[in-house]
Amino acid sequence: MSIFVDAGTKVVVQGLTGSQGRFYGLRNRAYGTQVVAGTNPKKAGSDVEGIPVFATVGDARAHTGAGASCIFVPAPAVPHAVMEAAEAGIELVVVITEGVPAHDQALFYNQLKRHYPGTRLLGPNCPGIITPGECNIGITAGEIAKGGGPVGIVSRSGTLTYQALYELKQKGIGVTTCVGIGGDPVPGTSFVDCLSAFEADPDTRAVMILGEIGGTAEEEAADFLASGMTKPVVAYVAGVTAPAGRKMGHAGAIVSGTKGTAKAKMAALQAAGAEVALNPTEAGELMARVLADV
């Protein structure tokens, strides 16, 4: 079992004909992911190493049954790409593209929430999602992940996610699903969404949270843990010693209060019962210990 994606997930890559889309689309396919289509209105009817290219996501879905999409188009084109996927009935939209303006993110997040509640958005600016051995959507180097569970991973940072997968693999610990939610201001999928899905997944026995400074996502995760998550959680928050970010005027301080620092996040997660690590390696060690107790 896994969350959000599995061996049956069929993927359409929006931007398959661009250099990034092509590189990672083909890598994802080589990993074993069912990459069934790409889109490019100007190149409909052609193919990328055998993957058919359609004009729209709607066409791609109609012909291939794709239920997930992965977006690599440039930032200015992302809002349209997201809405096109949602309108086509895609259930999971993964946006890898970085540099999407915050107002665009807030707008399409709310549009999906109101008009397309059946579409889950992951990202923008995320590494993607991988259920090792079954489905890899995005830019994660699949070979660094060991499959089979029992650990679920949810992370805000791309490279830290790889680090965590790697640490677990070194210890022979497998992963059910690893979700990179991205570090942008308005992530489509939150820590809480993933924790709740992992809580419901019978094969996931423990969860690793990888957070970073800024925002309140880790504090919200802590609230969720305290309110009834039964599975053990190991957490690492990057940025304990990071330079304080630019303060966003008074408004930012009023909105976030004392939240947002790595220390506050770690304290909140610890108070909610999570095992909190000081670095990614220790997170792997803590997870090994937690699993021995489960």
Partner: protein, 382 residues
């Protein structure tokens, strides 16, 4: 990008948010000319991106040209908490009846726009928020719906800006919201927003933070960018498109991804070292970007060792390795490099590094090992 007050007010004006008559000056003569245009009395304000400029003597009222000359002369070149004043804003002084506070920013938790409005502006608004949260009227705005006039009017009333201020406030806040959304700002803040004795509403200060990601649709931002004050290292990094924050330690850090870069700082601290900087080379860290990153760090005289920590996703291992090797040939590096490389095409990358391994270039298998090695080398080199 944080705007100076005069730029923020210029930005406000573009969207119809009323501001005082005035202009920017870089010399005493220009200050007098701006004052003559605005009409006396005027306020002469230091343009620095740091709080407390009033207390530091950076804001003065002048009744005539002689006073403008005296104040402008004193304020230009003044050092306000490390920021040297290069520009003044000279604007018509206002007779203030009431002071309010208004802002728009993104509520990341609710994933909606958030307006804050208070009838108790002009003071330390964070203190007001902490002590009497009810004194600040909050308004969530769904970006799909925007800020309607009716909703805005209710909000104004709720905040206690009734009476003479109300109609002007609705208009001003609507314009401020447009400035925030259409202007692609992460933050617009007015403190104080004033009601003058003759019943006009004015933004007496302006704090605007633009969303750098939206620069592609704002070619006009280029001129704002030219005035940003950065230190030499930050300037160089900025020109090369790198995310860089200067620190005071001896280990130069290069990592890919903000999370890993932050984690690298944490680990260096944990093994007893001090980072010289935060530097995220981002997703596509190819040879050229890596070489640029090394060049930037090389300009830092405090650096004793450079720690490159790359876990490849988008960044491919051989690109990182080629970049390091290329930079070694291109830049006369004053410090040895410790590299830790993993992820996409890591083996290819490590093979390239192995060909060039020396006492100037050391490869380490794990993040902790690499951090320890970097700290050891830095200590050896005093």
């Amino acid at each position: 990008m944080d705007l100076f007050e005069y730029q923020g007010k210029g930005y406000f004006a573009r969207f119809g948010v009323p501001v005082s008559t005035g202009g920017v000056a870089e010399t005493v003569d220009e200050a007098v000319a701006r004052a003559e245009e605005a009409g006396y009395p005027v306020v002469v304000k230091a343009q620095v991106q740091v709080g407390g400029r009033g207390k530091a003597g950076g804001i003065k009222v002048a009744a005539d040209a002689a006073e403008v000359r005296r104040h402008a002369g004193a304020i230009l070149g003044m050092d306000i908490r490390g920021h040297v004043v290069a520009r003044l804003l000279v604007e018509r002084a206002s007779d203030i009846a009431r002071e309010y506070y208004a802002s728009f920013t993104l509520d990341r938790s609710a994933k909606l726009d958030l307006g804050l409005l208070s009838s108790e502006g002009g003071v330390d608004i964070e203190e007001v928020a902490a002590e009497r949260p009810d004194a600040i009227a909050r308004l969530h705005v769904n970006p799909i719906d925007g800020l309607s006039e009716d909703v805005c009017r209710d909000w104004v009333e709720r905040a206690g800006l009734g009476g003479a201020a109300a109609p002007g406030a609705v208009q001003l806040l609507s314009a401020l919201y447009r400035c925030y959304t259409d202007g692609d700002a992460d933050l617009v803040e007015v403190n104080p927003l004033v009601l003058t004795t003759d019943g006009a509403l004015l933004a007496l200060d302006a704090k605007v933070t633009l969303d750098d990601s939206a620069a592609f649709r704002h070619p006009e931002w280029a001129e704002l960018e030219n005035t940003q004050v950065l230190d030499v290292r930050e300037q160089l990094a900025h020109e090369r498109g790198l995310q860089y924050v200067g620190l005071d330690g001896s280990i130069g850090i290069i990592a890919n991804g903000a999370g890993l870069a932050m984690s690298t700082l944490d680990v260096v601290h944990q093994v007893g070292g001090t980072p010289a900087n935060f530097l995220d080379v981002g997703g596509g860290a190819k040879a050229e970007v890596m070489a640029s990153a090394l060049e930037v760090i090389n300009t830092d005289p405090k650096v004793r060792c450079i720690f490159i920590n790359i876990f490849g996703g988008i960044t491919k291992g051989e690109e990182v390795a080629k970049g390091v090797v290329e930079a070694l040939g291109r830049v006369e590096l004053s410090s040895p490099i410790v590299v830790r490389l993993d992820g996409t095409n890591a083996d290819e990358g490590r093979a390239i590094l192995a060909e060039h391994e020396s006492d100037r270039l050391v490869s380490q298998p794990t993040m902790l090992d690499a951090a320890r090695k970097a700290v050891e080398l830095a200590l050896e080199r005093g």
